[in-house]
Amino acid sequence: MVGAGAVVAGCASEPAGGKGWMPNQYNVAANWPVQVKGRVPIDSSNPAIDRDDTKCILCGQCLEVCKNVVSVYGYYELPIQNDITCIHCGQCTMWCPTGAITERNEIKKVQAALASADQHVIVQTAPAIRVALGEEFNLPPGSLVQGQQVTALKKAGFDAVFDTSWSADLTIMEEASELIKRLTTGKALPHFTSCCPGWVKFAEYFYADLQPHLSSCKSPQQMLGAVAKSYYAKEKGIAPEQIFSVAVMPCTAKKFECQRPEMNAAGILRGNPAIRDVDVVLTTRELANLLKSNGIDLSRLVDTPYDSVLGESTGAGVIFGATGGVTEAAVRTAYYLVTRQDPPAALLQWENVRGLKGVKEASVELPGVGTVKVAVCHGLRDARVVLEKVRKQQSDWHFIEFMACPGGCIGGGGQPRTSLPPSDEVRKARMANLYKLDGTAVKRASYQNKEVMDLYQKFLHAPLSEESESLLHTHYVDRSHQLKPKEKV
């Protein structure tokens, strides 16, 4: 009767909806601004990062970091073109408080390869993994677990465990040679590093006009991938088709990088362009999950050395994982390449390029070449200051290192979420142990890496040789038509 009465009268208790909640910043009168709001756009086809909408609470943290640290969101004009601008750095995954944004999970692909009997599964681990993976196993920030992680990967079933620090040394041989060539000819200076795939895509979007400055060297990950499916395959007598190449990286952009169409140099050499140099990239977090799902407790394992022939590393290759490390490593070898003498002690402890200052500047005297001025940027918002100077030809730098993530790879978007948001304390702890590893290493410079020298002797002949160019060097894409950069932000 009451219901019927209500129907006739056309009145009822309340309308549908409105029974949920919103974060407090949104519960204000419409005419007041909300400062921290919304979220970053993530395309469903993004190869590096993924978002679970059911976990998103619109806290706005992803936008904050994308805009204020990475300087991507808010730096292009609207309307957009036909692309959702993303450099895949994954800093948003580090800031997302609910874990809604993560790397695109590819553990299953690796598990399938490990379970397959006819595949030779190799893995490489980046320099920055060894000072971060332990945090996932309750060890203090920065704990060095290099030997234990090799043991853990062997236990997980990988057939060979290689060190990306090895190919960092290889990168330095190529890149220092390239730098010297540019210094002596005076062409394409300043020289921009190219090992950070987030930075590379950023440059392709926003600074395509400066592309000639980018080093043509592939990143250490892609160099190792290309060498593994050519040189290593040949040395071991394994068909490249049978090798499944996994890379464990502190980075989500590396997932994008390994899928770049041009990253199939070993396949082209083999006559089978379908072969990818690196098949799957796992982040540090994904590796931790893989190990945990296998019941492997990293902290209880003994040390094992990396496998030959892509396993030896020097202190120079190890410090690649920290901001300034590439510069320091490159200068050590550049010094040797021009003088044929070991670098002085000051270049083995080059404090001016170390640390967490946004833009670091230093200079070094290279006998026979002159003064080389370097700049080191990490966090791309800071990098813009440097890039604008280069664009306006107001710079006198010869060499500039760029890393998308604050602190370099040790603060990468694939690293353990040990503090939220990421803190300098954790970054410093990780950096300190990388430099400690360098400081205690017997070999401190890339040209001392015997396994790298063996590669040149047996396979590539020399840095910048034809063979090196085809396997270890790459080209870039002009993405400037995919967005209109904002003149003023």
Binding site: V7, G17, A29, A30, D53, L58, L78, P79, I80, N82
Partner: protein, 277 residues
């Protein structure tokens, strides 16, 4: 005064914040099969608003992506409310067309009536109800913007007085070459609270075209307005005829009885005869 929302399609980057805000504020489930963002996004009982992605060409022939937010347009003269005989759909003073679930009888006339195909039915439930965007009427009543508008990071949407927003939209499309010189929702089916401006023709973005500028209820109003008079007149007519017929019958009966009275004796004799036999 009717409230409204002005949507500038050219500012949308497809982040989908609005769809998440709608889910959060209205406590809606996520549909595992039907996305609320992207090329396959579709409105349904769980998705009160969606952001669709379309590949289009801009005026220079450049391939571009555009995103279009869809939800109830909140018509100034809502056909759904007009079709609803149980008053489960009512337009409030702010212009929001609200749905009252406890008044709904589940006839789904509103779904047929809506020119934008907005009301959706909870097909998976045993006792289904209609669902649709409420323009966050409880937030609006407090002076807050609808949830979707509040969270938009690029300022695609602006909430305010509809008339003022309309003026603003016209100023903007006059001033900027970028925009098409039309405001979707200004005239469509008599006008809607949601207004859109764009650089890509609306029909390419999935908006219904050719809806006309006449409010749908007005089509039926021209004859349905006579329903009470006709119903009442018809009743009066029938009642009158009924009285007339009854009276006529009564008179006819009386006359028959009178006539029967004159020949009555003969009949009575016959009865007597039967009894004796």
């Amino acid at each position: 005064m009717s409230k409204g929302v002005l949507v500038d399609i050219t500012k949308c980057i497809g982040c989908g914040s609005c769809t998440v805000a709608c889910k959060m504020w209205n406590k809606l489930e996520y549909d595992q099969n039907v996305s609320s963002i992207g090329e396959t996004a579709k409105l349904n009982d769980k998705n009160w608003t969606v952001v669709t992605r379309t590949s289009a060409q801009d005026s220079k022939g450049q391939a571009v992506w555009r995103f279009a937010k869809q939800q109830c347009m909140h018509c100034l003269e809502p056909a759904c409310a007009s079709a609803c005989f149980s008053r489960a759909l009512q337009r409030n003073a702010d212009g929001a067309v609200e749905y009252y679930p406890d008044l709904c009888v589940g006839c789904r006339y509103c779904m047929i009536a809506c020119p934008f195909d907005v009301p959706k039915y909870e097909w998976s439930k045993a006792a289904p109800l209609i669902t649709k965007c409420q323009l966050c009427s409880t937030r609006v009543a407090k002076g807050e913007a609808p949830a979707c508008v509040a969270v938009c990071p690029t300022g695609v949407m602006k909430f305010g007085d509809r008339q003022e927003l309309l003026q603003e939209a016209h100023q903007l499309i006059r001033r900027e070459d970028l925009y098409l010189k039309t405001v979707y929702g200004e005239k469509e089916v008599g006008g809607t609270c949601w207004l859109y401006i764009s650089d890509i023709p609306f029909d390419q973005l999935g908006f219904k075209s050719g809806l006309g500028s006449v409010a749908l209820p007005s089509y039926t109003h021209s004859f349905l307005k006579n329903v009470p008079i006709i119903a009442l007149g018809w009743g009066v007519l029938l009642t009158g005829m009924s009285f007339y017929a009854r009276r006529r019958n009564e008179l006819a009966k009386a006359r028959q009885e009178r006539l029967a009275g004159k020949n009555g004796e003969g009949d009575a004799d016959a009865d007597d005869f039967d009894e004796e036999a």
